[in-house]
Symmetry: C2
Subunit: 339 residues, 2 copies
């Protein structure tokens, strides 16, 4: 296989009869370089389809124009949409994204984060799998000058920029909506109890009960995984209670779908005798029958804003950490009665 050696900035300089530093500057800042010269450089590089060598450039300048993204899953509507938002913003600002997937496996997350080559990253965007010991590691990274923005699943202990949907509000809204529609025995099928957003949504659910003066039963809250099957099983468990609920607020749409399937199977009329509300606004909401009423999570926006915030931190190392809360909104469909 024959491959012609590609040329560098040096060759460009020689061809134009100017020095490399001029070429280098012409290709970037335009600081202190004659517009005329700059034009000649640009023209030649375009003609030759010349690209700067990123490694050399990163080595010399310390900026890689890469940002790392660590997420638990990718085969998932929420996370793939977040990435989509990140990607969009990164693309517009000329950054590349390097993707790390932990599969929600704590061991793997630990290994991955400890081995992350920070030298090839200008910043890091993370949704953690667990509120684990790694936190310490994050602090080391940040202290060594690597900007980090946490999103969705964030560690509370750490002082850093964070971007999350307003879980409390969404849950509160969902629950009061059910109450308004006349359901009085509302269960909550929650996520793993150690995750921050599980706790927040639970809190919103409880607060709504308090504020609306609706009594709440402890056995109506079940913690389990995120899958459709979890929703299915949890619902069956609820149905076999001495006094079953007449509505369910699910921590996400997949579990809500599992719930509806269990209810359909038990011949309970969802949307009339029984209300179900989800969280996310996954496309499956419009596939399940009846269509799922849900709280939309602003996934794309979370991605976009996290990335935007990170880039600010990158460009200005003194930028103060901030927390951004993005509201969701209620999407009314048929799994809750409408009168």
């Amino acid at each position: 296989m024959v491959m012609k050696k590609s040329f560098g900035i040096k060759d460009i300089a020689k061809m134009l009869g100017i020095s490399v530093s001029t070429v280098s500057r012409a290709l970037r800042d335009a600081y202190d370089v004659n517009p005329e010269t700059k034009k000649r450089v640009i023209e030649l590089t375009e003609k030759l389809n010349f690209k700067l060598n990123k490694n050399a450039s990163a080595l010399a300048s310390g900026n890689t124009k890469n940002i790392g993204v660590v997420i638990p899953f990718i085969t998932n509507y929420y996370f793939s949409t977040v990435i989509s938002g990140i990607q969009e913003e990164a693309y517009n600002q000329g950054y590349n994204i390097i993707l790390y997937v932990t599969n929600d496996d704590i061991e793997r997350e630990k290994k991955l984060i400890e081995n992350i080559a920070t030298s090839s990253l200008d910043g890091l965007l993370i949704s953690i799998s667990s509120n684990s010991h790694i936190v310490e590691h994050f602090e080391t990274m940040m202290r060594s000058g690597l900007p980090i923005v946490f999103f969705d699943r964030v560690p509370q202990q750490i002082q850093a920029s964070k971007v999350v949907q307003s879980d409390f509000d969404g849950a509160y809204q969902a629950t009061t909506y059910l109450i308004e529609k006349g359901y009085d025995r509302i269960a909550h099928i929650a996520g793993p109890s150690e995750l921050s957003f599980t706790q927040e949504r639970l809190r919103g659910y409880l607060q709504a009960h308090t504020d609306c003066k609706v009594p709440h039963h402890k056995e109506y809250v079940i913690f389990s995984g995120f899958g459709q099957s979890h929703g299915f099983d949890d619902t069956n468990a609820l149905l076999s209670l001495p006094q079953p609920p007449n509505a369910i607020f699910a921590v996400n749409d997949r579990k809500a779908v599992g719930a509806i399937q269990a209810l359909n199977q038990a011949c309970i009329r969802v949307g009339q005798d029984f209300g179900v509300i989800g969280f996310t606004n996954d496309p499956i909401s419009t596939v399940i029958e009846p269509n799922l009423t849900t709280i939309e999570e602003p996934a794309f926006e979370i991605g976009r804003q996290s990335c935007q915030l990170l880039i600010r931190h990158i460009k200005n190392k003194d930028f103060e950490p901030r927390e951004i809360l993005i509201p969701g909104r209620l999407i009314e469909r048929q799994s809750v009665r409408s009168d």
Copy 2:
């Protein structure tokens, strides 16, 4: 913000009283280095949590340990699963993946690919948006020594490694299955006509008609986009034909879902009077009622194998291009009658 300057291989060398080259070699090949020395080096670097500077390393050696992945979408079950497979293999072999998303926008794809910094990539994995002029660009890249593996949507004109599901076989299988179940007027709601897999699936669909000696009507094939709504509209168009079909083979599950929704709405009993079969095995197949019978696409496997193949090309520049065809399989559910 105070940040302590991180140290390099040079400092390690100084601490150990040996030369940088020895440290460098100890950290990799182990070629020509005393096991004892090597051990000392490893121990110290681990203790100090020292990481090689990737940029310097890439600059000097020419290997970045990064592979680029170009896909049309990410918010999509198929592609996110493919990435999952790629990621898995890359992680195991110590590569990072840099993600590029084109949004299926040809202009953006073009710009993106032309601007890709090949200096920071050891190889490229691509699913193209269109069989466009870019092909020429790919050839330039390959000639300049960058290994490329195409997957899913591949350009036919180009001689390179490719990994695809067996679209023809899957379509053939789907169609004969419908015929076997007694449907005799089978429509095909296809994808955009210029994509290779659209053509392949259409070919399988037609071949099945020929082989089973079932007459085929031209107006039963509709080309359109990939969305649920396209499936919905296409189906309504088919239903308003003078002689409507009694079965549909959809190019993917989303369109099949749209079809089922249209049929449900028209009060046609799917799974009995009317058969619907999809392609992908998207999780929505088990959400739609009736559950969708479909051809499973081996998305994860496609990702894994593409990546594996690419890494072989990276490690051995003389490795001959090959095409890998991965079979799908029929998943029987309720949208086709079972007798």
